[in-house]
Subunit: 357 residues, 4 copies
Amino acid sequence: MNSFGHIFRLTSFGESHGKAVGGVIDGMPAGVKIDMDFIQRELDRRRPGQSDIVTARQESDRVELLSGVFEGRSTGTPIGFAVYNQDQHSADYDMLRNCYRPSHADYTYTQKYGIRDHRGGGRSSARETIARCVAGALAKLALRPLGIEIHAYTSQVGGIVLPGTYTDYDLSQTDSNSVRCPDEETARQMIDLISEVKAAGDTIGGVITGVARGIPAGLGEPVFHKLHADLGAAMLGINAVKGFEYGMGFAGAAHRGSEMNDAFIVRDGVVTTATNHSGGIQGGISNGQDICFRVAFKPVATLLQEVDTVDAEGNPVVLKARGRHDPCVLPRAVPVVEAMTAMVLLDHYLLNKTHHI
Amino acid sequence: MNSFGHIFRLTSFGESHGKAVGGVIDGMPAGVKIDMDFIQRELDRRRPGQSDIVTARQESDRVELLSGVFEGRSTGTPIGFAVYNQDQHSADYDMLRNCYRPSHADYTYTQKYGIRDHRGGGRSSARETIARCVAGALAKLALRPLGIEIHAYTSQVGGIVLPGTYTDYDLSQTDSNSVRCPDEETARQMIDLISEVKAAGDTIGGVITGVARGIPAGLGEPVFHKLHADLGAAMLGINAVKGFEYGMGFAGAAHRGSEMNDAFIVRDGVVTTATNHSGGIQGGISNGQDICFRVAFKPVATLLQEVDTVDAEGNPVVLKARGRHDPCVLPRAVPVVEAMTAMVLLDHYLLNKTHHI
Amino acid sequence: MNSFGHIFRLTSFGESHGKAVGGVIDGMPAGVKIDMDFIQRELDRRRPGQSDIVTARQESDRVELLSGVFEGRSTGTPIGFAVYNQDQHSADYDMLRNCYRPSHADYTYTQKYGIRDHRGGGRSSARETIARCVAGALAKLALRPLGIEIHAYTSQVGGIVLPGTYTDYDLSQTDSNSVRCPDEETARQMIDLISEVKAAGDTIGGVITGVARGIPAGLGEPVFHKLHADLGAAMLGINAVKGFEYGMGFAGAAHRGSEMNDAFIVRDGVVTTATNHSGGIQGGISNGQDICFRVAFKPVATLLQEVDTVDAEGNPVVLKARGRHDPCVLPRAVPVVEAMTAMVLLDHYLLNKTHHI
Amino acid sequence: MNSFGHIFRLTSFGESHGKAVGGVIDGMPAGVKIDMDFIQRELDRRRPGQSDIVTARQESDRVELLSGVFEGRSTGTPIGFAVYNQDQHSADYDMLRNCYRPSHADYTYTQKYGIRDHRGGGRSSARETIARCVAGALAKLALRPLGIEIHAYTSQVGGIVLPGTYTDYDLSQTDSNSVRCPDEETARQMIDLISEVKAAGDTIGGVITGVARGIPAGLGEPVFHKLHADLGAAMLGINAVKGFEYGMGFAGAAHRGSEMNDAFIVRDGVVTTATNHSGGIQGGISNGQDICFRVAFKPVATLLQEVDTVDAEGNPVVLKARGRHDPCVLPRAVPVVEAMTAMVLLDHYLLNKTHHI
């Protein structure tokens, strides 16, 4: 069950301290121009060590596509890839072999499999998201000629919330600061908060907002694989995510239908909606408006503090994390949210082609 | 793409005003005692016409299992079923043939398929959830001998929010009132609000909380099909759902790791956690604690008021819904949330058996 | 695991003596004209009681589509259907409750599930193929406007083999006799043989040949889901099938490459092949030539003779089948072979659309 | 569509002259001892250059598992692997860039994708079966403690047919000669034939027989994924395969039921069958007897002779293959048949666990 997608489908592999993290991308349409620099840049956006507010681990994370590309274009055959692990300090994790870090997957993996690779969190490490960024970059390359654009940005860190909505900001500015928030002033506050939290050996959660523009009407399956259900599953599959909402989301629960409905109007001869409380999806199917959604991340579980826990025999243990860890996962999760969005949209774009002879 | 589940898998069919709504349940384990009364009761919980605060449509919604059961037990072969439609006033929908109701699926279906059954919303009608309630009831029957119990209840209607958390209430009281809230006083307020909204020809949204108890540790796939990702996809596939969160959800985004982590302790010789901010799932896998989550529903899109919209040619139209509609979807959605939860849990229970020889 | 197909997908249900046999067809393209008379005629071709050389059971097998069709066209939503069972003599099977017929599925079902519906073979009955004929008829309706035609015919019964190959006969004559062989003289011999076998209380096997014409080049996945692999799986999933070959098949194993290769030539300005030893598929993908294949059926296991067997406790038992049985399955299997072929071809036609943006 | 299997699932990637061939094995049960020497030995059995009667290409084909194994045992997480390509003479294929070899996939790939990697056959090369051998070796390691044994051997080359059946030979002798036939005398004749064919610049087809012993009763899904249907799909997905039959196969079509049925008897207190015409599978489900089947391979399409063909513009071309090619694919296909058999059996073993609570 390590595959994602119906037609455009990523199967990922790899542990944090194993030999490599990688995957196979199946269903990549044929004939798409493959821009390797773009793919590497996307990967660099999630790379450790890129700023002061993320983990100091240094991993170059160079990706090589092993198949499926010929003379600069996709051939329609599967694209295998691997990113070899390098900066592993496995000894930092020796004390975890037999004990359970709070709110990590140590205990649940052991219960499930009876065996686990404890080094660096093994398969439960967010290092697995490398595979998603590669697949997402390929999906973006396929979507680009269709005029589909995908943005994500940090809209909340702890109690600091970016005011307004995505239309209030220039999303091309997202990467202009290390926290990936499109507003300079809010970004500064977020960075300060993360620095303070980091100094305290603590961590902090937040929210990432995702936006997709240029989506044609008609994408999404109407019942179980509604477009937002597949988007939600994609987001909830990212490490540390605790919630997903789209359009008006939870806030809409407090409102009346007369306030929430999006009236149809004709603008420039085209049917459109006067508002977009629906978040671009109605009845599970895109309506051509912008798709927008929010993703809640819990604070990283690894604290640079002493924590009380138990070992596999139930004995009390005091743990103090060594290693290098993110005080806040959001800056590096922004490209992962974009990647999963691109994968879902391309998948549904292709799937939608099968509904007609 | 009208199937849900990996091993225990429902494929549903049916339109609101077609001949029948039904489905096939594949992967039902063999040898489970089938209590037909229980299945019908579960279906009755979502039935129209059950109280003053839901739609007045009268549909008896009797289910018959057409296969897969022999001498009172499941045989392991697929269970086909159909619920024939009866109380259809298709003429009420004639004016919709060629125009788009705001925030409904009329426009998106037309864009996607080029053709749509406009009567009663066709496939986009919540009548499809009948199939889920049948599958969910069967899943509950399979889970019951394992000691797994599933509850859902209305925890918010509009601005009225049930205080505290699920442990503060006796969830067996949920069905003692028509809004399905386990607190008598809050239920009364919710009912009053729905009545008021209904009188105004308006509708109102809300939140349903889901709880599963007795879950063994180890359920859930660690990467793309995390237990909460599959639960989230299940919930987001229900009509009118706009958000899903589990454990501390969006609220946890504002907190620090030192506040959110669930310390491991030993209680009665067993490893457990002191708190349950994780909502029973860590690293995508159940940890044996209660699973709890929240599902946001938007207000029903059909208002009993005049609304301005456009037809397929872009001409302005004024619509006034006839027919009988729910002012608030939550009371009838509670059993659907339970059903989808049961399906996901049974599916992952069965899937988990394949991880060992 | 009662589903077949990737995009165009049938999920079937039903036991021989249960309430109904039916299914859900998912992925039917939208906008296809639905000819109900054609569908019923296809079903009638597999109906019991249609001639002297098939079982005398009388089942009218009327199909009703319960969803997915609106004003005579497919809507793109799933098509549910059920054929209710009628002419059941369940008491004829009482002696089978606790004992195992040779070369039937009685023993293996019991070993697998621990419980079985013994009446009429339950789920293992060829009555399940009703669902395939309905799905196949719908697939034929979708393929017809594309110019794709599918034929199957009986090419061998026991030792009587139709000489030559499919191009030697007018396949539109297949249904002109009860054994469904396009050559009148060979058909007569086959019918005589079946009559003789039937009189002896015995049964006989044979071979069905399948042909598809008008297939565009490019259908089929190149590695695991080669077009012939999916066709083979489709055929091997039909009751009593023991072998599948396409093109030169087993006979080609005795030949040299210089004899078997199909030279490319240009005819009327179009690239084509001088011969078709490949059976229309090269590297797993259709090349535009006719697809042809052969399917081997074993003799029906139910004899109208006394047979020695054992019961569940291992005691010797003498069985004599009551009920009404086919002395030869081939005449009624011809439409099933066609149905499965149509399903696979439509499925791959739709899948192939996803390989390009 | 480059994945195979339901639970134990291989997704493969790679072109003949690309950077690597590899894959991801998902669903490997946790806790299985991983014998790397065994895996490499299995791979060596399909390696080019191993004898005079196979291609002279020298590829060491060393496999490295990149994930999913920890301290010598499988962890239940996906196993990624890659075999890097080395002995590529891509220039040998320059003349193929724009023209179609007869009975190869050159034409069909071009029709399907509009682009193809022509070097060494690209994705259509049998080099892809490396991935299957790795997955098959892992499946064998998982099946071994269950007492399940898998054998394949060459039973026919051209007109030379190994007499009798598999029970007449000691299958452990299969690898004692280069053609992989368990009878020394027949093997010598086969080798002589292949040598003669090779000297003539020609190629030859044949048949491989597969046998699985120690299979528990109950494996296989009864309708669409019958055990033999999944085995057949597995075999038909191997390059150059044109037919599959199990048990009495095509020969059984000429017989009567009274000759073909396998009587149940009790031997040593256990229900078994007196004969095994069924090939170990009844109603699609294993019955505990040996599973046996036959796989037909066409002669390799690449001849070391001048052949007439056409280019993409339809101009006549004379091709003469350079490069190093197999005169007969069977010796190197034997381990591939075993690998696919092991994958299917493990997959169904795991799937069967989900049929009970």
